[in-house]
């Protein structure tokens, strides 16, 4: 069963705390992504990972970092969270042979609230 799994589903943190969002996929996909979704802005790309330890900034990387030590696992880290990082975060993966745009498979999202 092809799946992208995100944990946790809901998270409330205080400003200044560290946040770790986890994502896993069981499809052996090379490429993984972190997006955030805000009202009126659609999905904005934070980071893209082409494979283990091969990460690249997306359009809004500031305030975030990522870690990919295994192909099936991609983490998003917020060091010292800010209130403007309150959002819904989606992880996605794609097969991506040759770094071309392909179908994305999304996780169910993590709704993060930073107080």
């Amino acid at each position: 069963d092809m799946k992208v799994t995100q944990m946790p589903r809901y998270l409330i943190k205080r400003m200044g705390e560290n946040v770790l969002l986890e994502c896993g996929q069981d499809m052996s996909h090379e490429t993984m992504y972190w997006y955030r979704q805000d009202p009126g802005l659609g999905l904005q790309l934070i980071y893209i990972s082409y494979d283990v330890d091969s990460n690249s900034e997306g359009d809004i990387p500031k305030g975030y970092r990522v870690s990919r030590k295994k192909r099936e696992h991609f983490s998003l880290i917020l060091d010292s969270a800010k209130t403007n990082q309150t959002s819904v975060y989606f992880c996605a993966s794609s097969l991506s042979s040759g770094r071309s745009a392909e179908t994305l498979y999304f996780g169910s999202g993590t709704r993060l609230t930073v107080l």
Partner: protein
């Protein structure tokens, strides 16, 4: 600036009607175009996609039309049903020798009334 733009934040149509969702893009290098569908509190899922070597692709009630010279693509839905009520996100990216990066529009919230 926004590389991929959807002009209508929301749209309402009667059940059975035909509707058109529009998307404009800026980057000439984009040659992969897609529409994703998202229900509330759910993840986006691919509805239909097209590569730039064709200007139309049909899948049941859903058709994508691509106008490369106008940097515009659209999603046509026929015989609309209440279960089509969702947010529709257009997306574009580079297919050949480019990046796996997919850029999304802001989304159009579609309501199909019965």
């Amino acid at each position: 600036g926004q590389q991929v733009k959807q002009s209508s934040p929301s749209l309402t149509v009667q059940e059975g009607g035909i509707l058109i969702l529009n998307c404009d893009y800026e980057n000439d290098m984009f040659d992969y175009f897609a529409w994703y569908k998202k229900y509330p509190d759910n993840s986006p899922t691919l509805l239909i996609s097209v590569r730039s070597n064709v200007d139309k692709r049909e899948d049941g009630r859903f058709t994508v039309f691509l106008n490369k010279s106008g940097k515009h693509f659209s999603l046509h839905i026929t015989a609309s049903q209440p279960e089509d009520t969702a947010v529709y996100l257009c997306a574009a990216g580079e297919n050949q020798g480019g990046s796996a990066k997919l850029i999304f529009g802001e989304g159009t919230k579609l309501t199909v009334s019965s």
